[in-house]
Structure formats: C-alpha cells, structure tokens
Amino acid sequence: MSLVQKTPATRTPAPARRPRLTDDNGRRVRAWELILRYVLLLAVLALTVGPFLWQLSTSLKGPTEDIFSSPPKFLPSHPTLHNYERVSQTIPVWDYALNSLKVATANVVTNCVGSALAGYALARLRYRGRRATTVVFVLAMLVPAESIVIAQFTTMRDLGLNNTLVGVVLPGAVAAMNVLLMRNAFLNLPYEIEEAAYVDGANVWQRFLRIALPSVKGTLAVVAIFAFMGAWDDFLWPLIVLSDPSKFTLTIGLNYLHGTFANDERLVAAGTVIAVAPLIALFACLQRYFFRGVGEGAVKG
C-alpha cells in the first residue's frame, strides 16, 4: 500500500541530510545504475509524451510555417494562438466544454455513490442472491458496448429522456467495472475494523459511511477519474442521444471542425489539444490519490 506513502518519506530527507540516494532498504544506489535509470526513463518519456507535444507544437504553428518539413521542426518558429481562436470561432467551444463538464461531473457523482453502495453490498453484506448479483455485474462488463447503443436509445426515448444531458449520463451512471473495483477494495479491508463498530452498535449505514467508506478513498478516486475520463471522452453515445446542438458535448462539437476543416492539420491539432488538456490537468491534480487508490489493491489480481 504503498507507493505514495513512501514517496514523501524519501523525498524530504534525501537532499538535506543525506546527499546520496538510497533505496528502500537504505542501500546506496550506484551512480551508473541511477544514470541508466534516468536515461531509460527519459527515453520512455519521449515515447509516451512526445506525440502529445508534437501535436501541441503543430497547433502552435502559424499558417505560413511549413508543417511537413523534413527534417521536421520540433518547435514552432513563430508560436501563435491563432488556430485556437479559429476553433472557438467555428464552434462554441466553451458552451460545449461546459456541457461536457456537467455530464462528466454528474457521472463522477453517480458512479462514486452507486458503485460504493453496490460494491459494499457485494463485499460485506450477506444475502440470498448475492452471488447472482455479482454475476450480473461481471456479465455486464463483458457485453460489447458498441453493439447495444440503439437498444439503449429506444429505452431512453421510452423514458422521454432522449436529447437531455440526463439521458447522456444514465447508461454509464453506475458502470459495472466500477462496482467490481469497489467490491474488491471493500473485500481487502480487514473485517476487524468493522467488527469493532458492529459490537459498538453501529448499524449498516453507519458502518458503511463512517468506517468502510473512508478506508477506500483511494479506490473512490480511481472510480472518479475513470468516470470523468469516460464521460469526457465518450463520442458514440452522446452523438446518438443528443439532437439539439446547444446540448452537444465537446467531443461531438469538435466533430464539426473535422467536417469543415479536414485538411487543416493545425486546426485539427488545436482541437485535439483542447479535448485532451483538461483531462491531463485533472489527472495531474488527482494523481496522488489515484496512485494511492491503485495501491489499495483495487486492481490487484
């Protein structure tokens, strides 16, 4: 449990008191090994983040700059935000981003609440049909999402929720995957913790809210991030369920861009940067909780 809890511990003392780096066991890390590690780290960094930076660089290049040059120019010679301006002139980017934000936030709330409740029931409560309930969620996870969209749409229409943001949120409101993540997290909690509260006379809701839930905060963060990413990135479902352009989410909104300016790499690049940047920022803010959540064993085999 782990990674993150250890991180600050190493960080603080390292520079001040001991100029030399040590590993977890206090052994000194050899210099050549350290250098090798950083070289490898930087190489992987170039591979994973490089493509995003290239996209960013393309989006900052002005109309007069050759983006096809060989050898390639990695930095724009005259950086300009012109392409971003053009994106926002073409589509109401901010309105769409706001819609995306609403949908993503709602998705985070429903997923955290719904999967925590269901996960707790599956992991900690004993009742007839518990196994069946678990199987239901496992099966749901295996269903190929692409093949059921229209059936979902007709259901939504019968409920009168098509063309609403509520309709966008509902099908993914409590994702089976998240329920199972929460179930695993609760399963990994020692029983003794709750037992004490049980003896003290706390009822199920009190045990759930005051004891179990606070111990799986990390997994909740994982669920929150997955839920946010899923809603923000989704394209197919909002496209089908929404027809009113004022309700469009960012991914669909940016589709206009492609329809109108397919040939313009700079504009498309600016569009992708707008779509990706908020997610990266969000993840950067939450990564500490995220890594802790994973450490809690949420996704352990």
Binding site: S147, F235, L236, L254, N255, A262, T272
Partner: protein, 430 residues
C-alpha cells in the same frame, strides 16, 4: 472529435430492440398526406452540417417563415457531417425522426421503404412544376411509386488540376483531359515523365466513375446490378494499368477524401475532384498551388457529368402535415434556393433558376468562372449513384476493386464478385 466520425458513431445501430420499439412509432396521430389544413404548430427541421457556416441564413429563413405563418414554430437542429446516416437511423428506429429532414437520395430510399417518408406526389403535387423535372425525379425509389423529398440544392464538383505538374510532364496545361481515354493517356505520360513520383489520380474508381464511363449500373427494373459488363471490365482494366504505372496513387486503396485532398495540396497528385469551396482553402493553405491551379469539368465519357442532389424529406408520421410541407417547400422554393446559392457554391434545383445572370455572367473572378461552368454542366447532369446503392454496397465494390488493382484477382472476377455481393445486399434490403 475530428476523425471520430461515423467511426465510433457507427458501431451503433447494431442491436435494435425487440419489434415493440421498432419502426418509427412516433406520433400515431400524424401520418396524413393531407396538406390542406391550417399551417400552424411546432415542427423540427434537421439539416446536415450547415450550422457552422450558415447559422445566420437559416435563423433568418426560419424567422421569416414564422412571421408569414403566425402560430408556427420551427425548431432547427443541425447534425455533424460524420455519423449523419447513423443519427437518422437511430431516430428512424426510435421514432424520433424530425418533421423535415435534409436527405440525399440514398438516405431517402430505405426511409421510404419503411414508410417513414411522405409521398409528395400525393401530398404536394401542386409544387412539382416549380422544380427541374430531373431534380424532382431524383428522390424517386425504384420499385416504388411516388417521390419522397423536395429537391433542394444541387452540386457538381469541378475537377482541379495542377498546371505546374502538367507542364513538367510535357502536357498542355490549358488542355486538361475531358474523357476517360484522354485521362488515361495523360496519366500514363505523367507517371512516365516523373518516374512514378507524381500520380494523376488519388482515388480508386467508384460507382460514379463507372457511370460516367458509360457502364450501365443497374437493370431497368432496379432489381439487379450490371456494372460487370464488358465496359465495366474495360474501365477497371485501365485503372489496373494506371495503378501498376503509379499513375494512380499507390495509397489510393486506403485513400479518404481528406487524404487525397492533402495529396493534391502537396503536389503528390496532379488532379483532384472538389467543390468551389476548396478554392478558398487552396488560397490559404497552398498559395503557390493556387496561382497555378486549373479548373475543369469532371471527366466523363458520356457527355453528362455527375451531380449530387440534396433533398428535404417530410416525415410521414408528422403531426403537422400542412406545416411540415409548407416549410419544406418554403426552404426549397426558387426565391430561397437562390438566396442560399448566393451564400455558398451550390446550385438551385428550381426551374429557371440556373438561367439567372448570377449563373451566366462572367465577372473575371475564378469563383464566378467555376460557378458558371458548373451551372452549365448541371443542366444535363445525371445523379449516377443508384438510389439503392447502400454504404455496404459501396464497401463491397471498393474492396473488390482493390483486390483487382493489387492483382489478387482479374478485373472481370472482381466485378462479378462485387455485383454478386451487391445483388445479395439488395435482396436483403427487401
């Protein structure tokens, strides 16, 4: 997102629910073809990727209509270009199809067969004379009687070519090819002179190419495809020669309209079909190319170019038949098509409109030159794509053609297979 397209959109319509929620069950109260009632009530109007550029035009148009017919309210929705067919199928299957829908003939055919498109020969026969006869017939479906959409705008892409590349290859930059035979000769010379570096074409032949080459595409009754005849095989054999000589771009097998446009912009391909809208794009993105751009008619061996027809369909289940028909007619009448044509490079489908000075008088600019040439060729243009030619059929043809070009099978076998596959798909469409 840009490319996201039908892509993700698409995996959509795979699993319709049980019959209960099936076919356009929306509004049992509607569905009359009687357009004589009072024009009032709320209707929804759906267009196809027009908001980004023409928001003001449509808002003005709708305001005028609502003023002319008090008590009406038109809600305008615009859908992205990608995934349009999927959006319509979702709405059609879910019974939420808007009252007036922007369609093309191949979209209207399945809707008409499912009883979702109103027969305008019954409901709006009195307006028929206002449109070009060919345009009105454009939305008729083989095997059915009736006309299922008002003709809206027409388009025919000019063909752009790169004069510099023509000169380099020893071709006369002022005499671009007009027929397929000239095209093949020029293309082979281009490939030969540039050592295979510059291709003339970026796309594999489509059903329209077969049509323009003079291949009969379908039998008269509309029950089977015929493009595997000797003439069709001849065309594909020619293309195979071009492909082998690199006169057809080696990446043509995976080309999309965007990628071939890009190749033309960068001078890797010498000719590319487009629309007048592209000129503006060239000016901005490739100023050097713009100076040397040549504009000519589409290649055709039949004397008739291809045209694209857009229409406005009226939902057969609409609750406000008179309003929906009145509005569809209002948008497509001569006056409003003309004003729309002045906003963007499209052409009205109403009788007599193409004789307007706007489409006949030169003023020295390239835009006008393109417009006049296109308007002229449109008068006897043909919509070659058979109304019943579905997306699945396009893919089948494309894949068989690709196999022939790669030499995996003979052109004859490829076209036989394609016809067989398309015939089967046609039968399955019912």
């Amino acid at each position: 997102m840009p490319i996201s397209r039908r892509a993700l959109a698409a995996a959509a319509v795979t699993a319709l629910v049980l019959p209960l929620s099936a076919c356009g069950s929306g509004g049992d109260g509607g569905g009359t073809t009687d357009a004589s009632g009072k024009v009032e009530g709320d209707i929804t109007f759906q267009t196809w990727n027009l908001r980004a550029n023409f928001k003001d035009y449509f808002e003005g148009l709708i305001a005028d209509f609502e003023k002319k017919y008090p008590g009406t309210h038109v809600k305008w929705v615009d859908q992205p270009a990608e995934g349009y067919a999927d959006k319509i199928s979702a709405d059609a299957a879910g019974g939420t199809l808007p009252d007036v829908v922007n369609v093309s003939p191949d979209l209207v055919a399945p809707l008409a067969k499912a009883g979702l498109a109103m027969d305008l020969d019954k409901a709006a026969a009195k307006y028929k004379a206002e449109y070009l006869p060919g345009a009105w017939a454009g939305h008729q479906v083989p095997g059915m009687t009736g006309t299922y959409a008002f003709p809206w705008y027409l388009n025919t892409g000019p063909l752009f070519y790169n004069k510099t590349l023509f000169k380099k290859a020893g071709l006369d930059p002022n005499k671009p090819p007009k027929t397929y035979d000239e095209l093949f000769t020029d293309a082979l010379q281009m490939a030969d002179k540039t050592g295979g570096k510059v291709a003339t074409l970026a796309n594999v032949p489509t059903i329209e190419d077969f049509g323009r080459y003079g291949v009969p595409l379908m039998d008269k009754a509309g029950t089977g495809f015929t493009f595997n005849d000797a003439k069709g095989v001849e065309l594909l054999t020619k293309y195979k020669q071009l492909y082998d000589a690199k006169a057809l771009d080696p990446q043509a097998l995976t080309a999309t309209p965007e990628s071939s446009g890009k190749k033309f912009l960068t001078g890797a391909v010498a000719m590319n079909p487009g629309s007048a809208l592209d000129l503006d794009n060239f000016k901005k993105q490739a100023p050097n190319l713009y100076k040397n751009i040549g504009i000519t008619d589409q290649i055709t061996s039949t004397g008739h170019v291809n045209m694209y027809v857009m229409g406005l369909m009226v939902n057969a289940k609409t609750k406000h038949t008179p309003t929906a028909i009145a509005f569809a007619h209002y948008v497509t009448d001569a006056e409003h098509q003309m004003s729309f044509a002045k906003k963007v490079a499209i052409f009205p489908s109403t009788a007599g409109s193409l004789d307007d000075p706007y489409f006949t008088k030169e003023d020295g600019t390239d835009e006008t030159r393109v417009r006049i040439a296109a308007a002229k060729s449109l008068k006897d243009a043909v919509n070659y794509t058979p109304v019943l030619f579905s997306d699945q059929m396009k893919t089948a043809l494309r894949n068989e053609v690709a196999k022939a070009l790669q030499g995996k099978q003979s052109p004859k076998a490829a076209l036989d297979n394609a016809v067989k596959a398309c015939d089967q798909l046609l039968k399955q469409q019912g």
